[in-house]
Subunit: 511 residues, 2 copies
């Protein structure tokens, strides 16, 4: 069927969508969600249709921006439209729904069709659900990892040893990466670090780093920085390292499942060429992984998958039941990190974790440096400033230069006692309600940590916001839910269950 | 956030979609696929967003036709837009993904949110995949059935006994319903029959009936016809009996899975008030159900589910390895049926099956009539003409009045022997390539059936089309694939498997 192109100016997040008049769709015998093949000259794509009675008249075809770009259209061209065959990858998805193990070729086809738009949202969702319900074994995880790498861009560095670290997320106020990268790079190792922005947390490493320097580099710019400084801290999202993952994540997040966690993490490491890797697994109440036993199992899977795909992997199981340090929120965390690396403040837990992780990396590759000494010597600070300069930031930045929200709200203890618990999710909710991660200066500073003695009326934490009205929602949250628990002893009754409960688990998606 | 409405004139198949500028989406901290709550005056809806840089400028919100209607918008109004909470039903979907059994309340919430647009396509797909991988037990099937009925319209007839029949599909050229309804109604029983259009077949009962009379009645019109004549044959799709099912089916079809088959079928029967039901399960090669053992198991499930929801159910396991009668395609089948009911032709298998099914119904409710006698007496014909008249068709219609496609193509035997097999899917492909079900006059007439003796050059079947060019594609299909097998004996080797095969099962979705 020949149809005339009408540009509709709609972007649909990378998907290839076209809009057809209902009469034309009837003529082809298809309806919304069906796949069509659109040919213009020698180029063709598979696209998903939406049917309309009004927006596009009979004989025309509305194309979104993505289709326009792919077929190099200007409007008013005649294109050839026909019903597309069902992609073979659909059969592979069906096989997985039936519990069959997927081969590398099958996985590769599914990932390719996901990225190229040959599978619609429902079909991709069914694939993710199949992986979740039927499980992903190590061979499939390796296949998915490699297929995701092949579907995107890769960083090629002329180095034998390339190291990396990753946290599966869950620790509030985690500044580890911003300390580890300069320590490691200052020790002479190459660490091309990509980080994520916050999805469900108060601040991703990329959000924090952005307070000090640009992080939206493309792969060539990233390469230059690493070649000059041995390190970098850039946002992975701008690099197109694993485009399939960005699509899968949209299914996983609302359902709070992540069957693709291993391939997603390992794929991005492989895409930057890493061959030595430490995975940080924060553990405990309020984190992703509640028990040390579960953390060990997760570590086993990471190490085995690493072996399979040629990345020597070790894991660090870390304590995650309260925030690291005192600062939560992009600017507050960047400032705390800067004070630590400048040796202006001795934030014990922050230094403890960063040095442990850096030492594991150094040991893995046989380096003799000690992370704490590199930090204390000022070499890490020097390296951080070098990286900031090459990424285009102000290398001379001082902690006081970092702008924090003007509006503050103190949350005080209602009784005396000890800090018995901190609700990680509650603290994240508070920081996000204050405007983080979008408002860089929003967040909170703890005044007390677990075990500290508190008098009634003492400040537990101060919330900062760039917009005063945001603090009203913060107040509502802290009034409704205890975020920091103070008392003489933990109450024995956790909660009563009087009717069938709806289990609402908070889900931390960081990868 | 206050945004100004811009109508974009796009229909998206009942979904509630809005389009936001990327800056506004960033401000709310959300991206494509997220849920927002839109309030205008006292009305509000939950809607899924698409993010654009161009089509909608900052401060505006593009709304599709469905949203326009629901909120009664005219354009340029200011509406209040905020991030919507995740619906509780998402947690229930997650529970099912984890293998937990769903309660009635949970199922009901999921179905409601599906119909109201609170769940996006991916989430609905994950639900369907969860039902498929984890299984639907009888309690869940009953819950789904009732929830689907509650989400749509229902027919209320003042009758104690209401009967119905349903075929799970798979028999090519099945004219049973169009014979059974008049036989049963002529016997004094009430049978408010809703039928489907073809999805994957060459002609649904609604497509065939439409050759003789209008079938797109609304529920009030349907009620009037049944009250006057005791029967009707209308298209279920116009009645909004189970709107959730139309959404689920869009996920099931491309994946060729149908975990919702039982609730879908039984829900629609319950919605018309049926309390006695016969399910036809065509069985054999080329149908949905390949073996009699499988058919028995399916029958067991239907009967048990019927007991659970108050519909006395029996099943008929029927032979489906070749078309019923000789005609395939809407007009050809309508004509063959008309000839049978007028006693002009004695098409043995058509009469055999229709009478068996009608007799099961008659026996279930204790009626003493015999279907064949009702047919032979001319009372069934009289009743059919009465129904045609009340649905707005020509009650005096004769077989010759029915228009068949002008263009014909004979497919002849390439050797002598016996008809050894017929490929149901191949015959459907031929009829669809000729234009069925959209071109009512397209289809095929068999000249031979299984076991018939054939001389080389004998016509096996004739294909009819309304457009000559359609026959070219038919020729290609029949050249490439054997559709009717002729020979002295069946070859022993079915096929060789020399490399890992991609299993492509044809999927017949009729319900």
């Amino acid at each position: 069927m020949k149809l005339r192109v009408k540009l509709v100016g709609l972007e649909v997040g990378g998907k290839l969508i076209i809009i057809m008049n209902n009469e034309d769709a009837d003529d082809l015998g298809i309806r919304s969600g069906a796949r069509v093949r659109i040919q213009y000259g020698k180029k063709f794509i598979t696209s998903i249709i939406n049917v309309t009675k009004k927006l596009v008249s009979k004989g025309h075809i509305g194309v979104c921006e993505e289709v326009k770009t792919r077929l190099n259209l200007k409007g008013n061209e005649e294109v050839d439209v026909d019903v597309a065959k069902f992609p073979t990858s659909l059969q592979f998805i069906k096989n997985k729904l039936n519990g069959r193990k997927l081969s590398y070729e099958e996985v590769s086809e599914i990932v390719k069709d996901t990225v190229e738009g040959n599978l619609n949202e429902s079909e991709i969702a069914a694939f993710v659900a199949a992986l979740y319900t039927k499980g992903v074994d190590i061979d499939e995880a390796a296949s998915l990892t490699c297929a995701m790498v092949e579907s995107g861009e890769t960083l090629k560095l002329n180095k034998k040893i390339i190291v990396d670290k990753h946290s599966i997320g869950g620790t509030v106020g985690d500044k580890t990466t911003m300390l580890v990268v300069p320590i490691i790079a200052a020790s002479g190792l190459t660490m091309p670090k990509t980080s994520s922005r916050a999805i469900t947390s108060a601040a991703g490493t990329a959000d924090k780093a952005e307070v000090l320097m640009p992080v939206e580099l493309d792969i060539q710019e990233m390469k230059k920085v690493v070649e000059k400084t041995n390190g970098c801290i850039v946002w992975g999202g701008a690099l197109n390292l694993a485009p399939a993952d960005d699509i899968f994540i949209q299914v996983e997040y609302p359902l709070s499942i992540d069957p693709l966690m291993f391939p997603s993490i390992m794929g991005k490491k492989r895409a930057v060429g890493a061959n030595h890797l430490v995975i940080d697994i924060p553990t405990g109440r309020g984190t992703k992984v509640k028990t040390i036993g579960d953390a060990d199992l997760l570590a086993k899977d990471f190490i085995e998958l690493g072996q399979k795909i040629g990345i020597k992997t070790q894991c660090a199981i870390t304590y995650g039941e309260q925030p690291m340090g005192y600062a939560v929120g992009p600017a507050l965390e960047a400032r705390e990190m800067l004070e630590v690396i400048m040796r202006k403040r001795n934030v014990v837990d922050v230094i403890d974790k960063a040095c442990h992780i850096a030492n594991i990396i150094l040991k893995m590759v046989g380096k003799e440096q000690n992370a704490l000494q590199v930090l204390k010597s000022g070499k890490a600070e020097e390296k951080l400033r070098e990286i900031i300069a090459h990424q285009g930031g102000n290398a001379a930045v001082k902690p006081d230069d970092i702008k924090i929200g003007d509006y503050g709200l103190d949350i005080c203890a209602e009784k005396s006692g000890y800090v018995l618990w901190m609700n990680n999710t509650g603290l994240i909710d508070v920081a996000r309600a204050a405007g983080a991660p979008k408002d860089k200066g929003a967040g909170l500073m703890l005044h007390k940590k677990l075990g500290h003695k508190v008098e009634k009326g003492d400040r537990l934490f101060t919330v900062y916001a760039e917009k005063a009205r945001k603090l009203e929602r913060v107040r509502k949250i802290t009034d409704e839910n205890g975020v920091v628990g103070v008392g003489d002893r933990v109450e024995m009754l956790i909660h009563e269950v009087t009717q069938v409960p709806v289990h609402k688990k908070s889900f931390i998606l960081e990868r």
